[in-house]
Symmetry: C2
Subunit: 217 residues, 2 copies
């Protein structure tokens, strides 16, 4: 039990404090402007103090991104329970995905940066999968993905994930036009129509794609 002012070490819980400060610095200064020294200064410790809790800046960023996935998961789950199973839930979760990206653009970029974070870290892997599972579990409940898809669920999952993630990414990177007040022209409900039925081709057995012509030129 930690009471008020019960700073057991010099700081008490520097590890959590650094992650919190990192989240704040991220949205204040942008992904490109974030620095280890800046985060440390925000907490009020020397710039080498983080070394005791994270092996490097990369490690700290990985922990921040992990927290990002947890927030994203919560945001996707928000509102899903209010909807009946089926396409409505898929739209609610998808809108949560986009909403999170819009509300935490720099964190979202970090989470999918690939080079700044350590994607092999067990914690971030677990958190990322938990977020992905929200979409996947709902998609698996849809009529068009019940049983007749013996090639595995990958195809329909990836189609949906690609659409949602692509839209969020393009919005966050400023590639897609918004209304003047910053609101969206379309949310995922508009972009992703009634998935109660889907083109028959999607139900065919998928064959592994061997990538002819994919690795030349």
């Amino acid at each position: 039990m930690l009471k008020k002012n019960d700073k057991r070490y010099h700081h008490g819980d520097l590890k959590s404090a650094l992650i919190e400060a990192g989240l704040a610095e991220l949205e204040e200064k942008g992904l490109a402007g974030v620095s280890l020294r800046g985060i440390a200064a925000r907490v009020g410790v020397s710039h080498t103090a983080p070394k005791n809790h994270f092996d490097s800046l990369r490690g700290l960023l990985t922990a921040i991104a992990t927290q990002g996935f947890e927030i994203q998961t919560a945001e996707m789950r928000r509102g899903v329970e209010d909807q009946p199973p089926g396409p409505a839930r898929l739209r609610a979760a998808s809108n949560g995905y986009v909403r999170f990206a819009l509300n935490n653009p720099e964190l979202f970029k970090l989470m999918f940066s690939g080079s700044l974070k350590d994607g092999e870290d067990p914690d971030i892997k677990r958190a990322a999968w938990a977020s992905y599972d929200v979409l996947r579990d709902i998609a698996h409940g849809l009529d068009w993905d019940k049983a007749d898809n013996p090639g595995g669920p990958w195809r329909t999952e990836w189609m949906l994930w690609s659409m949602v993630h692509g839209y969020a990414t393009l919005l966050v990177e400023g590639e897609i036009r918004r209304n003047e007040d910053g609101s969206l022209l379309f949310d995922m409900s508009d972009l992703m129509p009634d998935f109660g039925y889907l083109p028959e081709a999607l139900k065919e057995r998928p064959k592994p794609f061997q990538g002819e012509g994919m690795n030349d030129g």
Copy 2:
């Protein structure tokens, strides 16, 4: 006319040489490892020489990304002419989009980085739109987007673009599983089924989304 050894200035054409060197450095050392000094050293000039042609590293990266969009446009057009108008062309262009991303992953990341490049630069804007237009022009030729979409072409465009771009992004960032030899489990032809027909909801008139609940939390 420039003959061999006709170095008119100290270098001759440093601007182009820097872009070329930057493209090479990018794929060799990755987006995170690229540096102005490294690019300059590769060409054999001092690290401040680029200043005469680009105001900053950001400017040089913007020029590199611009060239990237031009390569991407060519890659998308490759093979499109062989296909009859319609869904087949859409698949060919989409596969070109993904193929470019897989063959130039670091360049692709730079092109959509948002912070490293200057998205307002007129040249990069023109090049990016040219790439986007390949997808858009084909999409507009499809039956399901002929005339009854008075809300503008944005919705169908963005749905397709999101799917293609999202898939390319997730592949490049290593978020989507591949076969052991690096080939894809699905290409865009598998992911994007017969678009000869499409859910009726997509043909309804789109209404502007005002973003209720999008900016809270």
